[in-house]
Structures are given as structure tokens and as C-alpha cells.
């Protein structure tokens, strides 16, 4: 919740709050200016000391929290209270700069509302009902504000990209993998349930989860277990893949911020979304780092259409480290000697992994960069990264261009939101080999070692193994897998998804398309702004009129109706004199307008009952309204 704030900052806040609660009833106050200045200087120094600078989001937020803490200690007057509430709202805003998670957002909404309640209660003074009444009013305000919030959110002119100054982003919390693969780098992600991205298939063409290989980073420089992406990817070769008709699978992907440039799509992405390009290795590369949830549409084709490999590429994709042991070379030699066909070599390599007693494990023990022999011939225990990198090395040794791909595998279907959710724990590494007649082919050596991993997803795979080994807390695990909890989790996920796609990714472009869609043909923000003003003003007027109508006193209404009756009677020749009581007037008017005498008497009697009886029945008012209306209707157009 506190993001990357230094731990002493929330503690300082709580301490000052407690101190204020202690001081206030005892009448102690912070009066010494010198003490205040020293306190401020010390805390500011502490911030600088904790972060090493005062620039960036976290020191900025810390600064606000600290200032607020000091203000709490000092505040005493009504105005200071108001300032603190406003300060609190600013802190809510800061919360959104640290995290835009839905859970955080809900917490901040609660905080925002409670601040509102506090402000209202502060102004209410000693009115009865210290908790529920202000809460009710705050709820009322928020409820009435809701249409305005929606209106403003949809139509308030957003500034397009270009007007930017980047506050330094929070350094911590960027999840996901990097453009390097080293032993254990994926295994550390396997326990992270953080969301990587969510996918919708708008056309309904959904591949099976076992075939959902989400293409991420392509690593083409290998040194045994250490693999990395090309240094300057754009300069190596242009990736030009013509669109092969309409056969691609369309995906709407909402990616969670990870701070890097890569984006994901089923292999192989054929058309890059806006703001991204198709980088060498056929992976998507965002021009700007992804620092907030982003939604994009991408199309993937099942086969890659490029059928040629330049000699330079081929050379690069065949590079093998010189330190490979003779045993490894011998192994590869045995495959290539039996068949020169690359496809057959691939098969024999897979066969080697399948029948060689290899085991799949999250914790295979430490491997060093050059421990290929140890893995292939002795321990034979590894995670997907070990299999992928060793397989690619072996293929290169056999003269088949190969590369390692890091991405995600599978995804969890959410029936509420009709989308697939891919988590960090779905991170996977596999290989791609170049076959002369087919082009790039995906080969996943892990699938032959542990087929269940591919079919079930890592979570279920691990769960099964855990049950088999009885190593983990089975009760908690069983409880967590009860259908009700699964349902709840899925529902929460789908709300999260809606939050990401509908709210967080609503920016200037989305607004423009929305405005065009609802048919407002305006381009300038100014006219949009004027429209908002008009609509908001109208809404406020309606609210005001409604509230006025609701609270208008009954006596006023009765009086107004009676006055209307008197005006009408005056037009008929019976003018009420200022000194005349309603009874006297009724008698005189009945004489003057004989044909309406019964009505006049009735109206007057009801009026007297309404005005002067202690507890007039509500139905009396209706009778009165009807009577006056009937009278005006019956005498319409008549004049003396």
C-alpha cells in the first residue's frame, strides 16, 4: 500500500496523529516557531537522506506526507482543518501515482469519502448523529455527483501526448522479466501471481491454452545458459512481414505496466499496434516504456511468412560459444551423422530430452553459465529456461539457426469478463528453429519433459505436484480451490480488467474516438468544455430545483394556492380586502359569485383547516389542490 515509501514515513504520520490525540484534550499546542522550523528541517533532511534526492515521485509523496504530519501536530483552527482535508485529497492523488491498481483505487475512494465525511461533520458542529448523518450526506453528495463524474471523465478535454514532463517513475515494483535470460531468472517469477496482461479474442477464434505461446522477447545471443537480446535491435534487419490475408487471430491485449518496451502477442505477431513496431526477431517493441496499463489490438498469423535468412543473420544465429565441451559436440555429432535433415535432427534432440531421464523442477539447484555438461549429462534437472537455452545451443551446434524466446504460456479463462488472464507465473521460455523450407518453427523442449506443464499451466502443475508430495499446506490450498473462491477470484479479475480497459486506458485518443462515436462533431477542446459546462449547469439546476421542491414548506404551497384562488376570485369581482379573514371573504365571495358558492366555501374551509389546525392530514392538501384547480378551470376566461 505504501509503495516504495521509506517505512519511517507512515510511522511518523501515525505518531503525530497519536500525539495530536494526546495533546488536544490536554490543551497542549505547538507554539514555538523555532521548534516547528527545527522539526521541519530535520524531517526534510531525513527524506533527503532516505532517498538520496528530493526529485521523483516517492520523495515527493514522502514530502507531502511529512508536511501533513507536521500540520496535524500544529493545526488548531477551523481553516487549518479545511486545509488538512484538502491536503488529504492531494495525498489520495499521490496514491494514484504510486499505484493504479483497482484495490488501491478502492482504498483511495474510501479515504476520499471519509475525508468528505470528516469535513461535513466538522461543519455540522454539535448536531445530533455524529457518524451516520454526515455519512449519509456524504453518500448523497457522492451519489448526486456520480453523473457529473462520468460526464467529466468522458468529455473533459484530455491533453494528447506531447504535453509531458516525466516525473521519475517509481523505481521498485517493475515486474516481469528482462531482456536477459540466466539460470533461475524465470524460476523467480514462477511464484508471482501478478498479472502480466489480459487478452480478449474479439473474433471468437481462440487457440487452446496449450498452444497459447505469447511471444515476448527474442534472445539471439547465447553463451550457454546466458542468453540476451540483440544490443541494438532495430539496426540488425528490417522485419517486413506481409499480411497473409485475413487468417490472423485478432487479440485485444491490456498490458500491465512493466517499465520495459516489450509487448506481447500470440506467435507470430503480423501487424504492430499504434505506438509500437515489429522488431527483429518478430517481436513487438513499444516506442515508449510501458508505465501504465495500455490496451492494444494486434493480429497474429499462425505461420511466419518470411522464407529467407540473410547470411549475416544466419551467421549470428549459428554462433556458439567456443568453450563447449567435446561431450556436447559428440552428442550433436551423433544426431547430425544419422540424418542431415534438420527436422530429423530436431526430433532426435527432442527424443534425447524425452528419454534421457530429464526432470522438470522449479528448484534444480544452482547452475553456472557454463554448466551445460552438468545439466545435460549429470543432473538432468531443470526449469524451462534450462531446457530452452540448452536446446538452442545444441541446435546451433548442429548447424540449425536457433534462438530463445521468452514470453508467457497459457492463460486462465475468466467466464465473467470473457477474457484470458496471463500472470507472471506463466512466464515461459522456448526455442525457435529455422527450417529451410518452413521458416521459423516453434519448438518447446519443456513440453516433452513435462507435458502437463504445457497442458495444465504452471499453477495447476505445481499444485498437483505439491499434493503428490504433501509438502505444502494442503488444507489452505484445498480451501483456496473451492469453487466459491475460484468464482470470487474470477469475478474480481474481471472487475480489474474492466478497470484497466475502461478507466485506466481512457486517454486522449480513446476520448476522441468515443466523442466521434457518440456523434458529437466537435474537434476543439473549447467547445467540448462549453458543452460540459452547459450540461453540468443544467444538472445542477435540476438538482437545485428538485431539492427546493422537496424541502419547500407545505405552508408556503397552501398560501400560494390560496393566493391564486383569491386572484381568480378578484377577476370575477370578489376582491379580498386586506382586513378580511378567509371566512368573511368566503361568505362575501359566495354572494358575489353565486354559481361557484359551494366551491368557494369548500376551498375556504379546507384552507382554514390546513392553515390553522394542529396536525393537518396529508390528504387535505390534495383536496385543496384539486379544489383550487377545479375552481380556476371552471371559471376560466370569465371576467366580470
Amino acid at each position: 500500500m505504501f509503495g516504495g515509501l521509506a517505512p519511517w514515513i507512515p510511522i511518523l504520520f501515525l505518531i503525530t496523529l497519536a500525539a495530536k490525540f494526546w495533546m488536544e484534550p490536554r490543551g497542549y499546542r505547538l507554539r514555538s516557531v523555532l521548534f516547528k522550523v527545527v522539526l521541519a528541517a530535520v524531517t526534510l533532511g531525513a527524506i533527503f537522506f532516505s532517498y538520496g534526492s528530493v526529485k521523483g515521485i516517492e520523495p515527493g509523496v514522502s514530502l507531502i506526507v511529512v508536511l501533513m504530519s507536521l500540520k496535524i501536530l500544529e493545526a488548531h483552527t477551523a481553516r487549518e482543518f479545511q486545509v488538512m482535508v484538502i491536503f488529504g485529497w492531494v495525498l489520495c492523488l499521490c496514491g494514484f501515482f504510486l499505484s493504479q491498481d483497482l484495490a488501491v483505487a478502492l482504498c483511495l475512494l474510501v479515504a476520499f469519502s471519509l475525508l468528505l465525511v470528516a469535513l461535513i461533520q466538522f461543519h455540522r458542529g454539535s448536531s445530533p448523529g455524529a457518524f451516520w448523518s454526515p455519512l449519509r450526506l456524504a453518500g448523497k453528495l457522492l451519489g448526486q455527483a456520480l453523473p457529473l463524474v462520468v460526464l467529466l471523465f468522458l468529455l473533459f478535454p484530455r491533453l494528447p501526448a506531447g504535453f509531458r514532463f516525466q516525473i521519475m517513475q517509481p523505481s521498485s515494483g517493475t515486474a516481469g522479466f528482462s531482456d536477459r535470460l540466466s539460470p533461475g531468472s524465470i524460476a523467480t517469477l514462477a511464484n508471482s501471481s501478478q498479472v502480466a496482461f489480459r487478452v480478449e479474442f474479439p473474433d471468437g477464434r481462440i487457440p487452446s491454452p496449450a498452444a497459447m505461446y505469447w511471444h515476448g522477447v527474442v534472445l539471439s545471443h547465447g553463451e550457454g545458459f546466458e542468453w540476451r537480446a540483440p544490443d541494438s535491435p532495430a539496426s540488425i534487419y528490417p522485419a517486413t512481414i506481409p499480411l497473409s490475408g485475413d487468417e490472423g487471430i485478432r487479440q485485444w491485449i491490456t498490458i500491465e505496466p512493466h517499465g520495459g518496451h516489450w509487448m506481447f502477442a500470440l506467435d507470430w505477431p503480423s501487424s504492430p499496434p499504434a505506438g509500437a513496431s515489429l522488431a527483429p526477431g518478430d517481436c513487438l517493441w513499444s516506442r515508449e516504456p510501458i508505465r501504465k496499463p495500455r490496451r492494444y489490438e494486434v493480429k497474429s498469423s499462425l505461420a511466419i511468412s518470411r522464407k529467407e535468412l540473410s547470411s549475416r543473420e544466419r551467421r549470428m544465429l549459428l554462433e556458439v560459444p567456443a568453450w563447449l565441451s567435446p561431450a556436447v559436440r559428440e552428442l550433436v555429432q551423433s544426431w547430425t551423422s544419422s540424418s542431415a535433415n534438420p527436422a530429423a535432427v530436431v526430433n532426435s534432440a527432442l527424443q534425447f530430452f524425452r528419454s534421457g531421464g530429464f526432470q522438470y523442477s522449479l528448484s534444480p539447484g544452482p547452475y553456472k553459465e557454463r554448466d551445460l555438461d552438468e545439466f545435460l549429462f549429470h543432473r538432468r534437472l531443470g526449469f524451462c529456461e534450462h531446457y530452452a537455452s540448452s536446446f538452442a545451443t545444441l541446435m546451433r551446434l548442429a548447424g540449425i539457426p536457433a534462438r530463445v524466446v521468452v514470453g508467457y504460456l497459457g492463460g486462465e479463462y475468466n467466464e465473467f469478463g470473457r477474457f484470458f488472464l496471463v500472470r507472471q507465473s506463466d512466464t515461459h521460455a522456448w526455442c525457435e528453429v529455422w527450417l529451410p523450407d518452413k521458416g521459423w518453427q516453434r519448438v518447446d523442449p519443456t513440453s516433452v519433459v513435462a507435458p502437463e506443464r504445457v497442458n495444465l499451466g504452471l499453477d495447476s502443475f505445481l499444485a498437483r505436484r505439491a499434493i503428490a508430495n504433501r509438502t505444502s499446506n494442503t488444507f489452505a490450498r484445498n480451501l483456496a480451490q473451492r469453487p466459491i473462491f475460484t468464482k470470487l477470484r474470477l469475478a474480481w479479475d474481471s472487475i480489474n480488467y474492466a478497470w484497466d480497459t475502461r478507466v485506466l486506458s481512457f486517454d486522449a485518443e480513446a476520448q476522441q474516438s468515443f466523442v466521434a462515436e457518440i456523434g458529437i462533431s466537435v474537434a476543439s477542446p473549447f467547445s467540448l468544455f462549453m458543452r460540459i459546462l452547459i450540461i453540468a449547469g443544467g444538472l445542477l439546476a435540476i438538482y437545485g430545483g428538485w431539492m427546493r421542491f422537496r424541502s419547500r414548506s407545505r405552508a408556503d404551497r397552501v398560501k400560494a394556492l390560496y393566493q391564486r384562488f383569491c386572484r381568480k376570485a378578484a377577476r370575477l369581482g370578489a376582491e379580498r380586502q386586506p382586513w378580511e379573514g378567509p371566512l368573511d371573504f368566503a361568505m362575501r365571495a359566495a354572494d358575489l359569485v353565486p354559481d361557484q358558492s359551494k366551491r368557494i366555501r369548500n376551498i375556504s374551509n379546507t384552507y382554514i383547516a390546513l392553515r390553522y389546525s394542529r396536525e393537518p392530514t396529508p390528504s387535505l392538501l390534495d383536496t385543496f389542490v384539486k379544489g383550487v384547480n377545479a375552481f380556476t378551470f371552471a371559471t376560466r376566461g370569465r371576467r366580470k
Partner: protein, 295 residues
């Protein structure tokens, strides 16, 4: 007739702070392109906008009327009871009442339920002697959020009287001989024999207040004791040994009080008015009123 003018709306200092913060929030949200921050900003803006009709209508249906004010001496505190009636069908909260023409401190009524009334007493120090109009009663409210202030002025028709400040020599002047004619009459005042009670007059000594009656919840009463009267006393404006008009009036007021307390029958002789010697509550106030309105 009371005159109800339209409510007026004005911003409070808090509004400036709020607007500043909203502008800052907008800048932060726009520069980071942070939709969640925008959402918070819009929540804040909308809640503020929605609070405008709430603040505006918080005075609707409220009527304030001043009640009669007891005369006081200049320099003392005037207490002005005001009744605020809520004729609407909604509860009204946090209503402040001020008297802009007299500079009274504001009095806050936290809560007036629908159809009920609240009573507030405004206190302010009495200005110069004379009769003063109450002027305007000002109802203000900043409820519920405190960023806007609605105010409504109601002109109260009543006037209040301020007696001159009692000052000078407390010793009564010697009674004239011709006042000794009706020596037989008994005078009430500070004597030995208890002779009943009468209403307490502000400015009197508190020694003779009937505290037991106060404890029973009754109004302040002064115990009276009978004594032989010394004679009649004419307090003459011309005989006051001061040259300044206000000082003379103050002296006369003090003498009136002392004479009333001593139960010495006294009369008042001003250049334009002459009040025959008498005693008692209404006579006392009659004299003071004449002094207050002296031109």
C-alpha cells in the same frame, strides 16, 4: 414588515485553496496522463459542484426574527434574542447569525429540524446612549463543505434603547426642604423591615437579590426593606456640577439608580422634560429613557 432579500453567494478562503489544489491535480494528472488521477480530480470537482445547491438551499425556508431587547446601560452588553424558524421540510444545519451593523460576534446554530425553531442570543456591547435600530440580521452558512458562503439579510424593525453609562458621584444630592411635605409616607428601599420583593434592575447592588427565589428557578428579584423616607428628591439637570453633557447625564443616571435603590422618591428635571417624583420600576425606566433620549 420584515423584508426577505435574495440569498447571496460568496466564496470562502477555502475555495481559493481548493481551486489551487484542483489546478495542481489537473496538471499532475495531465502531465502523467494518469486516468485514475483524473478520476479523483473529477470526483472532487463534482462533489464541489454538487455542494453548491446544497449550500444555496441551506437557508431556504429559514426566517429570523428579533425579539424585544431589554434596555441596557452604555458599555454593558446588549443581548438580543433571535428566533430562527425553519419552515422548510428539511433539516438545516450549521447556520451562523451575525448582526453586521452592530458588529456582534457570530452565533452558530448547529441544527434546526424541519418545522422547528431555534433561539439564539446575540450579545454585543452597547454603543452610545440613545435608541438604535437593530438593523439587519444576517444568516450565513457554509455548510456542508465550507467552500462557499450563502448569506441572507433580514431587516429587523425593532429598536433598542441604551441608557447613558452611570458614572460620577454616588452620593445623592441633599433633598429639598419642600420635598419634606409628605413625611408620613413610607418609602421602600434599604431599611430594616422586609417589605416584599420586586424585579431586579440591572445596575443595582446584588446584595439584596432574593437568591433563594433564583434557586427555585424564578427571575432575579430584589428584596425590599421599608424605611422612613427622608423626603422628596428632584434630580435637576441644571444642578449637576459638570459642564459636559454626557457626564451630566451619566451623573443623573447614577443618581436615579442610587435613589431607586435607596427607595428615595425622586423626580427628574431636564430642560425640556419634567418627571414628577415617584418610585418604582416603571418610573425608574421612564426616567432613564428620558435621559437616554436627551438631546
Amino acid at each position: 414588515m420584515r423584508k426577505h432579500r435574495f440569498s447571496r453567494v460568496s466564496p470562502t478562503a477555502g475555495l481559493a485553496a481548493l481551486l489551487f489544489v484542483m489546478a495542481a491535480m489537473w496538471y499532475a494528472a495531465a502531465s502523467q496522463n494518469n486516468a485514475a488521477a483524473y478520476l479523483l480530480l473529477f470526483c472532487l470537482t463534482s462533489v464541489f459542484l454538487i455542494s453548491i445547491p446544497h449550500t444555496l438551499l441551506n437557508l431556504a425556508g429559514l426566517k429570523a426574527s428579533a425579539e424585544s431587547v431589554k434596555p441596557t446601560f452604555a458599555g454593558d452588553e446588549v443581548s438580543l434574542p433571535v428566533e430562527i424558524v425553519n419552515e422548510s421540510r428539511a433539516t438545516r444545519s450549521a447556520i451562523a447569525l451575525t448582526l453586521p451593523d452592530s458588529g456582534s460576534p457570530r452565533e452558530q446554530v448547529d441544527h434546526i429540524p424541519a418545522g422547528k425553531a431555534a433561539r439564539v442570543t446575540l450579545r454585543f456591547s452597547a454603543p452610545r446612549r440613545g435608541e438604535h435600530p437593530i438593523g439587519r440580521l444576517c444568516l450565513t452558512t457554509i455548510y456542508p463543505l465550507g467552500f462557499l458562503r450563502t448569506s441572507k439579510h433580514i431587516t429587523a424593525p425593532q429598536r433598542y434603547l441604551v441608557y447613558p453609562k452611570p458614572a460620577g458621584d454616588p452620593n445623592l444630592p441633599k433633598a429639598r426642604t419642600r420635598a419634606r411635605q409628605n413625611k408620613s409616607s413610607q418609602q421602600l428601599g434599604e431599611g430594616d423591615d422586609f417589605a416584599g420583593v420586586r424585579a431586579y434592575v440591572s445596575g443595582e447592588s446584588q446584595r439584596h437579590i432574593d437568591w433563594k427565589a433564583v434557586a427555585r428557578g424564578q427571575a432575579l428579584m430584589t428584596k425590599q426593606f421599608s424605611a422612613e423616607a427622608d423626603g422628596l428628591l428632584y434630580l435637576d439637570f441644571a444642578a449637576v456640577p459638570f459642564s459636559d453633557l454626557e457626564e451630566r447625564l451619566s451623573q443623573l443616571v447614577l443618581w436615579v439608580i442610587e435613589a431607586e435603590r435607596a427607595r428615595v422618591s425622586y423626580g427628574l428635571r431636564l430642560p425640556a422634560v419634567e418627571i414628577a417624583p415617584s418610585l418604582g420600576h416603571s418610573h425608574f425606566h421612564h426616567c432613564l429613557r428620558a435621559l437616554a433620549l436627551f438631546k
